[in-house]
Subunit: 256 residues, 2 copies
Amino acid sequence: MRRVIAIANQKGGVGKTTTAVNLAACLAEAGHGTLLIDADPQSNATSGLGIDRSTLDGHTLYEVCLDHADLDSIIRPGPVENLFIAPSTKRLAGAEIELAGSSERDLILRHALAASRRSFEFILIDCPPSLNILTVNALGAADAVIVPVQCEYYAMEGISSLTETIDLVRSCLNPKLDLGGVLLTMYDSRTNLSEQVAAEIRRFFGNRVFQTVIPRNVRLSEAPSHGMPIIQYDPSSRGAHAYRALIEELIERNEK
Amino acid sequence: MRRVIAIANQKGGVGKTTTAVNLAACLAEAGHGTLLIDADPQSNATSGLGIDRSTLDGHTLYEVCLDHADLDSIIRPGPVENLFIAPSTKRLAGAEIELAGSSERDLILRHALAASRRSFEFILIDCPPSLNILTVNALGAADAVIVPVQCEYYAMEGISSLTETIDLVRSCLNPKLDLGGVLLTMYDSRTNLSEQVAAEIRRFFGNRVFQTVIPRNVRLSEAPSHGMPIIQYDPSSRGAHAYRALIEELIERNEK
Ligand SMILES: Nc1ncnc2c1ncn2[C@@H]1O[C@H](COP(=O)(O)OP(=O)(O)OP(=O)(O)O)[C@@H](O)[C@H]1O
Ligand SMILES: Nc1ncnc2c1ncn2[C@@H]1O[C@H](COP(=O)(O)OP(=O)(O)OP(=O)(O)O)[C@@H](O)[C@H]1O
Ligand SMILES: [Mg+2]
Ligand SMILES: [Mg+2]
């Protein structure tokens, strides 16, 4: 049973890529065949998994969205067994303008996934920090969306426009789209702010907030400079423990 | 002599809004008439200065971009003397699609500023985390751009595509656009990562990096929840000292 999960939030720097990369790596480590699709032209997920962009030569998500290349033709193995990635480069930034006129523009990713012959248990999609065509494509293709929220004031403010977008996509593009969960990230137990924001988010979303909270942990921000997910860079760090706990909760939620 | 400065970086969460709000407030405190334009649909700069979005009723940047309203008609006073704001709401997110077909779409903000009869010494423009029409408009209207860069790996990666965009805008839209400076933000002296990234950025940009470095300081992230700039929320904090030091450096650079 394949599960497609978009990792989205238009607020910038809330931990979307960090969550996409590490959730994917932990799912793969636990034996689930996992594909990570990098739908952000910043292509941080691509470099976060150690892929050298200069070796991609025309086999990226841009070619799938604009030249009708098969998704399968761009998939390559990641640094962990059972983990694969559909990489991107900054060229994908052109998709917004180049797709603006096309009638099918919102469903390109869904069609590409439907045509794929690869079988993965989980497909994660890392989204850019805006509610543009790439994010709409990810929401249109997903079964569920995980929303990382940094435990800070500005990040909290933006939540209502995201849930409105999710409702809009559900009503006119993808009726099966479910809010998979809100994930509190960069929680710093030394500050009141983190606790205040976390309490506010729980009041608003109730049990749709994951019990697992990702702490602020410098090892998580060091790992990408080595091109590794946290379970390879520092498997005993608080960051690694938190993302491992998250997949257990995710799988439990899925089975309900 | 009016100076228009865009605060831009397509990487999310690097401190664009925090820099725009606090730089504007410090310039105003030092006696310079300052306007902050919120060009981000997230409208964090608007709430960061204590403006209640529900009181804006059609007097926002959306109306200037889409309904040809005068910029002067939306300007309102900020929480500090000499500080004014041109606010936004999430409605501005529609500008991307609604302006896509218009031939003048890249110069709307420059024309609106040219038509304004208000006189400010500094006009700051807070940009969204993407290289879209709103950011291009800000770069098209600006004399200079300040690039906040978080002292983290992913933020460093994105710099080259931003400088490419600045060069592109300079060559076909705004020949006077200057790189005003790269600002290191959220510098955490306890981590090696901050020092490594800072050293790398200085190697790449040389003296275009501001001497002033903004430290990670929780008071900066608490201030927005009170709708205040740091000089009001906690005037003796390290964050307030850093942004005050920054304006001195900025004014010195301007005079050269
Ligand atoms: N739990 C954490 N502890 C410490 N640092 C973190 C944590 N999560 C993410 N980071 C760091 O914070 C920064 C922002 O995270 P990340 O890039 O994953 O966010 P994002 O939402 O994907 O950003 P964007 O909006 O630009 O796509 C990165 O430098 C990352 O390494
Ligand atoms: N020097 C700092 N110390 C501590 N926290 C900071 C600092 N600068 C910014 N922050 C906090 O980090 C988060 C990201 O900053 P901010 O929202 O200003 O970035 P941004 O680049 O404007 O984000 P976006 O890309 O979404 O527009 C905010 O919650 C802010 O309060
Ligand atoms: Mg990201
Ligand atoms: Mg901002």
